[in-house]
């Protein structure tokens, strides 16, 4: 039982929504810059920034996928398993047999679209189906690539190592992805309907739109972004590993929430999610820079994810909750 916000809080929420992810990114960036002054040195910034931010790109892609799922009030719990599986498909199958590899990826897309139809027809929360899927993806990954290894197709490696002039590649990609995500969610008919389904399915259906079609398309795109994330991650590491994308599920959810998204109600922001994803990536990077012992890293990561979820949700706290 949740009551609407009072108007004062509402106004506050509007500002914080855009500021929170940006400020979080800044807060994380400052100590990194302090520790790695090369990041702002005119001679070295290009290489340092590229190195620091490169591994943020797969997280950005996964977060955009998660953002799509959350726009219709769902969560993809199999994100990290999917991304890891895709690195294995790239490393173990695509490398040898591009046709089979492509078929594999198309099959994954089809399964994702089926998930969309399934949750619509069975009225099941996706979190339950996707946790089942997470084991299937991991099982497949272990089967085709039991241990880290394999080799990526040269084109993928090359695609992740472009060197545009002046602006480091990861920044170019992040900006591009933010624009694409924003365009998709806020400029296209599909994006409007998806967010509409997240808030008020009944109205959307009464206006003559097919909710099942929207859900299928959304999950298709979740799968697509997951696949792109896997390709990017594979290209960066140049190897396949069934556990490569560890924690991506939580990181992507935290990124979306930090970026102004909510678990229900169809509220998402693509730009916010990209900021959030980079912030989450840099936080993890910060742990390395600050030489936090690897023993502590998982725990600190968990704590930071909880903190991000708390901060992201803080200004959207509703009034009186009588039971949960």
């Amino acid at each position: 039982m949740v009551r609407p916000l009072d108007s004062r809080k509402e106004g506050l929420a509007r500002y914080t929504e855009t500021l929170v992810p940006a400020i979080s990114l800044l807060v994380v960036l400052l100590p990194i810059v302090y520790k790695q002054p090369n990041l702002i040195s005119p001679d070295r910034y290009y290489a340092t920034l590229t190195m620091t931010l490169a591994f943020g790109i797969p997280i950005v892609l996964a977060s955009l996928g998660q953002m799509l799922a959350m726009s219709i009030g769902e969560i993809d719990f199999a994100m990290e398993n999917l991304v890891s599986l895709v690195t294995c498909v790239m490393g173990a199958v695509m490398f040898k047999d591009p046709l089979l590899g492509t078929a594999f990826l198309i099959g994954i897309l089809a399964v994702y679209m089926l998930i969309g139809a399934f949750i619509h027809l069975k009225k099941l929360p996706s979190i339950i189906i996707t946790i089942g899927m997470s084991f299937i993806w991991t099982g497949l990954a272990i089967t085709i690539q039991p241990t880290p290894g394999g080799s990526m197709p040269a084109a993928v490696n090359a695609a992740m190592r472009l060197r545009p002039p002046w602006i480091p590649y990861p920044i170019v990609l992040a900006v591009l992805l933010a624009l694409i995500g924003h365009f998709l969610m806020f400029k296209t008919n599909f994006g409007i309907l998806a967010r509409g389904v997240g808030d008020n399915v009944k109205s959307i259906q009464q206006a003559g739109h097919s909710a099942i079609r929207v859900r299928i398309m959304v999950f298709g795109l979740v799968g697509l972004f997951g696949i792109l994330s896997g390709v990017a991650l594979g290209g960066l590491t140049t190897s396949a590993d069934p556990l490569l994308a560890k924690n991506y599920t939580l990181l992507s959810v935290a990124a979306v929430v930090l970026g102004g998204g909510t678990f229900a109600g169809g509220k998402v922001s693509a730009v916010g999610a990209v900021f959030g994803a980079l912030a989450m990536h840099l936080v993890v990077h910060l742990l390395v820079v600050l030489k936090i012992s690897t023993d502590w890293q998982a725990g600190v990561k968990g704590f930071i994810i909880l903190l991000a979820l708390y901060i992201g949700g803080f200004f959207k706290r509703a009034g009186k909750i009588r039971y949960i």
Binding site: E10, R195, A207, G208
Partner: protein, 482 residues
């Protein structure tokens, strides 16, 4: 242009066993503005839901522009044939902007530059109807207050432009302030006589009188009267809305008697003296207090606040209380459980030995209730959903009455229940009252107020009048709630 924009012929609608609409025939000409008034459950909204394609009628038919509507008629079809409706329950998506909402409902805004075109269109309409509205088309609806959302909802219907044939306004001003409501009525008066037919439903009778040509009064699913607006008065309408049953209530007034309960202990009393925000409720032992007024004006919210008695900031309450819901599926039943388990959830301390529930005790408690109030079930071990609605409601009553709670809150407990069950429920309430149990009873049925010692009338979220039970006639309640 067809002579008749809308013509309904003998439309009826049943929900389960209870008829919501009986043989309704009315017509509307283009350019005409028809007022539709009546109390809760009179069937106004049911009729509008049929016209807008939300559900089909059970019997009868209707035509738009002389064209008979077929089985495939739905909201989309209604929209494409020019029927647009504004309901109290908003259809907007809160997380979308005003312009995006327009696009969801009006597919013609597509292609490059749609956002600008949709924004311009809605701004033009808003400027025309509600000058000074202060709404920007790229604003998310959730950032608007309730009144402005309603304004957007109205403008959304007008955005159909030339495609708008029939406009249905169902309580369009309930969330609007006086000034904005006035703007809407002025606009309706301006467009009257054009090509658009308007059906205007409101409980604010002065508004209906101010903007309509003709007023149809509904009661108990039927049309109970029709008057030309210029000849009508408030009193005349209220009389048409309730006259019949009011006299029936008078005739059966024998069981109305004023009981002096002032010496009994208070179970619910306000923590602070009354404020300007309306009356405060009190409840004494052995008292039945009714909550009346139009549906959705804050009665259920009050019951929930009272039920959460430990955390209630406004009232001093002697708990625990129990709660009998009207919406059984949503608020009452445990759908996977048997009748017995549904019935005993409040009284485990009474049916267990050594902290373990004794199945035979549980069964005998349930059996006792089955015999005393006649729960019609093949076996008490059957699933709760195998019972008819009335029998499910009996189980919910048994559940609460078996508990030791001194006060029972009832949220329209006879909703959708057959007459026989209602009589049993009334008898139960009388018996329990005489044993010292207290009831707070929200009801949408005027007839039931005669069982109450006192009645509070709600309007716009607060209690505006307190009427002694002996004087709680339908007319008195209607006067306070309109």
């Amino acid at each position: 242009m067809a002579e008749r924009l809308v013509e309904t012929k003998g439309i009826g609608k049943n929900f389960g066993i209870s008829p919501a609409l009986v043989d309704v025939s009315l017509t509307l000409a283009p350019g005409e503005c028809l007022g539709l008034v009546g109390h809760n459950g009179a069937g106004k909204s049911t009729l509008m839901n049929i016209l807008t394609g939300i559900f089909p009628p059970s019997s009868g038919a209707f035509s738009l522009n002389g064209r008979l509507q077929d089985a495939g008629y739905n909201v989309r079809a209604a929209n494409s044939r020019g029927v647009w409706a504004v309901f109290q329950e908003l259809s907007l998506c809160l997380n979308l902007t005003v312009a995006e909402n327009l696009r969801v409902f009006h597919p013609e805004f597509r292609g490059w530059g749609w956002r600008k075109r949709a924004g311009d269109a809605i701004t033009a309409i808003l400027d025309e109807i509600f000058p000074g509205h202060g709404i920007r088309p790229n604003q998310r609806v959730e950032t608007l207050n309730l009144g402005r959302r309603q304004v957007v909802e109205i403008a959304k219907a007008f955005a159909a432009g030339d495609g708008l044939g029939l406009l249905i306004l169902d309580e369009p001003t309930s969330a609007l302030d006086y000034h904005t409501a006035r703007q809407l009525i002025d606009h309706l008066n301006r467009i009257k006589g054009g090509s658009i037919g308007i059906i205007y439903i409101s409980h604010i009778l002065d508004e209906v009188l101010a903007c309509t040509d003709r007023i149809v009064v509904m009661k108990d699913g039927r049309i109970s009267g029709e008057v030309a607006s210029r000849d009508a008065t408030r009193d005349r309408l209220i009389e048409l809305m309730g006259s019949k049953s009011a006299s029936a209530g008078e005739a059966r007034g024998g069981d109305r008697q004023s009981r002096d309960l002032s010496g009994r202990p208070l179970l619910i009393s306000p923590r602070r003296p009354e404020e300007k925000g309306g009356l405060r409720l009190t409840l004494r032992e052995g008292e039945v207090v009714g909550l009346a007024g139009l549906a959705g004006h804050g009665q259920t919210d009050l019951l929930i606040e009272l039920f959460d008695w430990r955390r209630n900031p406004d009232y001093r309450i002697e708990g625990p209380l129990t709660f009998i819901p009207g919406d059984r599926q949503r608020d009452g039943n445990f759908p996977l459980w048997s009748i017995i388990k549904n019935l005993t959830i409040l009284v485990y301390p009474r049916v267990r030995r050594y902290r373990i529930i004794d199945l035979s005790l549980e069964r005998s408690v349930s059996g006792r209730w089955r015999d005393s109030i006649g729960i019609r079930a093949a076996s008490l071990g059957d699933n709760i959903l195998s019972l008819s609605g009335g029998n499910q409601q009996k189980v919910l009553f048994a559940r609460c009455l078996e508990s030791a709670a001194k006060a029972i809150l009832m949220d329209d407990p006879t909703r959708g229940v057959d007459v026989g069950t209602k009589e049993i429920i009334y008898r139960l309430i009388r018996e329990e009252r005489d044993r010292g149990r207290s009831f707070v009873w929200y009801t949408t049925e005027m007839d039931e107020l005669k069982h109450c010692d006192r009645v509070y009338v709600f309007r716009n979220g607060s209690m505006v009048a307190e009427i002694p039970g002996t004087e709680a006639t339908e007319e008195a309640v209607l006067r306070s709630s309109f």
